[in-house]
Amino acid sequence: MAMQEPTFFILTALAEQPLHGYGVIRAVTELSGGRITLRAGTLYAALDRLTEEGLLVVDREEAVDGRLRRYYRLTDDGGTALSAEVDRMRANAAMAAARLRNIRLAFGPTS
């Protein structure tokens, strides 16, 4: 089953290093080239679900004057799920590229 795009970017954001909530939002915006801006309610629904599925765990907490930052980390299962998704996307992309090449060979301008 294909992963939803926000999920994909959240896992990608956490693949490099543990991040807290706002860190994830910023990283996802950056990784998606500004296309996806997560809002807090959506982000935490996704974090809850991914934690429950065992793809994420809480890495550590930082409490500074009434603020609470909780850092999330990818689990081994999370890494596996993300690389499976990467393989799937790569296979799809390669397949599409191959077909496009075939079309160009058949109908494209002769060089």
């Binding site: 809002r39 679900r49 299962d77």
Partner: protein, 434 residues
């Protein structure tokens, strides 16, 4: 606390208290870190997002695996039961069909042979009962017959309106009737007079019914979502128990609802008549959330379990269900045969009522077998739609013994219900159902 933080904390009230306590500070921190320095109040986009997230935490079924579909089915089932309740409530004081027929017949000369039928106007709420008097052979003109019928109604204590185009209204005790005198319709008997009454739903049913469907649907959705959220955190054995209670409940109510809908175009409409399947379905539906509430939670912190293999769990659940139904059907066939052999009675004698199956089995066992038997006949063939793919997928993923047991269970789900369609099996089930 800044004004912005107060605003965000107010929005977090959309979330359940326990969730707020666990995650509130963290979410507010994230929101404040993402806010530009000149922001003084939460933007509408954040507000909507938080309210939606909170409502989802409170009321939505769990994510994935078709939970939402199950919750929708729960909503539909409870809405249907609530509508049935509303119909029973509003039609309880309604005069019976026989009364209507007699009321129509009193308008006619006593010596005339009378045929009649009554039907519910399915889309009409409140308003008069329409009575058509159709004359096949008439000694006098229709106008004269209308005058006579009206006079008879007045003598019977009705307040009658003037006749217009062989039609007049009658009123008594808040009841209204519109009587029309016509020629016989081609399809009707060629002798005598026929009375055709069409009566509306009681006027209160429209608001009460709509409220029942809306509130029932909402309650069903909430109860279904709540049960599913609990379901997800129970142990596998608990989940099996909840599923085996809830699924037949939904199926039974669903089957009755479908058969009711199929009868809608025929005049004899029955919604929630309190029949056995409906009662059993209702009982199972009530029992399911109670089970979900009382069964112990599966504590994931206690021991890290390997991720559950859906195929293995599915095979276990389906095998257990198949075997339970097979055991019930086999019990019926075996008790019938044993009783027949032991007493030397033939099949006709067995059905005479002299050999009560309730004498053979203790009542709780009899009831349990009967419930499983009933559900099994409906569910066994449907369950094959699950067990056949599982047989294909599960080969090699579960132990050979488990696979063969499922195979045997699936075969029993074909053979045993099929046996019930033989004359012998039919007699056995008639005997057992008594």
């Amino acid at each position: 606390m800044s004004r912005l933080e107060r605003g965000y904390r107010r929005l977090l009230l959309a979330y359940p208290r326990a969730y707020r306590r666990a995650r509130g500070d963290e979410i507010v921190t994230t929101l404040l870190e993402g806010a530009p320095p000149d922001r003084v109040r939460p933007p509408a986009g954040d507000a909507w997002d938080l309210i939606r997230g909170g409502l989802r935490q409170r009321f939505a079924p769990p994510h994935g695996r078709g939970y939402a579909v199950v919750a929708l089915v729960c909503a539909a089932a409870v809405a249907y039961l609530a509508l049935g309740g509303a119909i029973r409530l509003t039609t309880a004081s309604e005069s019976s069909k026989d009364t209507l027929f007699i009321a129509g017949a009193t308008l006619l000369p006593p010596e005339a042979p009378v045929y009649g039928d009554q039907e519910r106007m399915l889309t009409t709420f409140g308003g008069p009962t329409l009575i058509d008097l159709s004359y096949a052979q008439r000694p006098r003109s229709l106008d004269d017959l209308a005058v006579e019928a009206r006079a008879r109604a007045i003598a019977d204590g009705w307040l009658a309106g003037p006749i217009e185009a062989r039609r007049f209204t009658l009123e008594r005790d808040g009841q209204q009737r519109v009587v029309t005198v016509t020629d016989a319709l081609p399809a009707e008997p060629t002798a005598g007079v026929s009375v055709h009454s069409r009566y509306p739903w009681p006027a209160p049913l429209l608001p009460v019914g709509i409220a029942a469907v809306v509130l029932g649907g909402l309650a069903g959705w909430l109860a279904g979502a709540w049960t599913l959220r609990r379901f997800r955190s129970r142990t596998p054995a608990g989940q099996l128990l909840i599923a085996l209670t809830g699924a037949p409940g939904l199926l039974l109510v669903g089957a009755v609802a479908v058969s009711t809908a199929a009868e809608l175009d025929v005049s004899g409409l029955t919604v929630f008549t309190g029949t056995l399947p409906e009662g059993m379905g209702l009982a199972a539906l009530v029992l399911t959330p109670l089970l979900a509430a009382s069964l112990p939670a599966d504590d994931p912190a206690a021991a890290p379990r390997p991720p559950t293999d859906l195929v293995r769990v599915g095979i276990r659940v389906v095998t257990a269900a198949h075997l339970a139904f097979a055991a019930a059907i086999a019990t019926v066939l075996v008790t019938f045969t044993v009783r027949m052999l032991a007493t030397g009675a033939d099949r006709v004698a067995m059905l005479s009522g002299a050999h009560d199956p309730k004498d053979l089995l203790p009542l709780p066992v009899y009831a349990a077998v009967m419930v499983l038997f009933y559900i099994g006949i409906v569910l066994s063939p449907l369950l094959l739609l699950v067990s056949m793919p599982l047989l294909g997928v599960g080969r090699g993923r579960v132990s050979p013994v488990a696979w063969r047991v499922l195979l045997a269970a699936a075969i029993s789900a074909v053979v045993l219900p099929a046996l019930l369609f033989t004359p012998y099996g039919g007699d056995a089930s008639v005997w057992f159902m008594d």
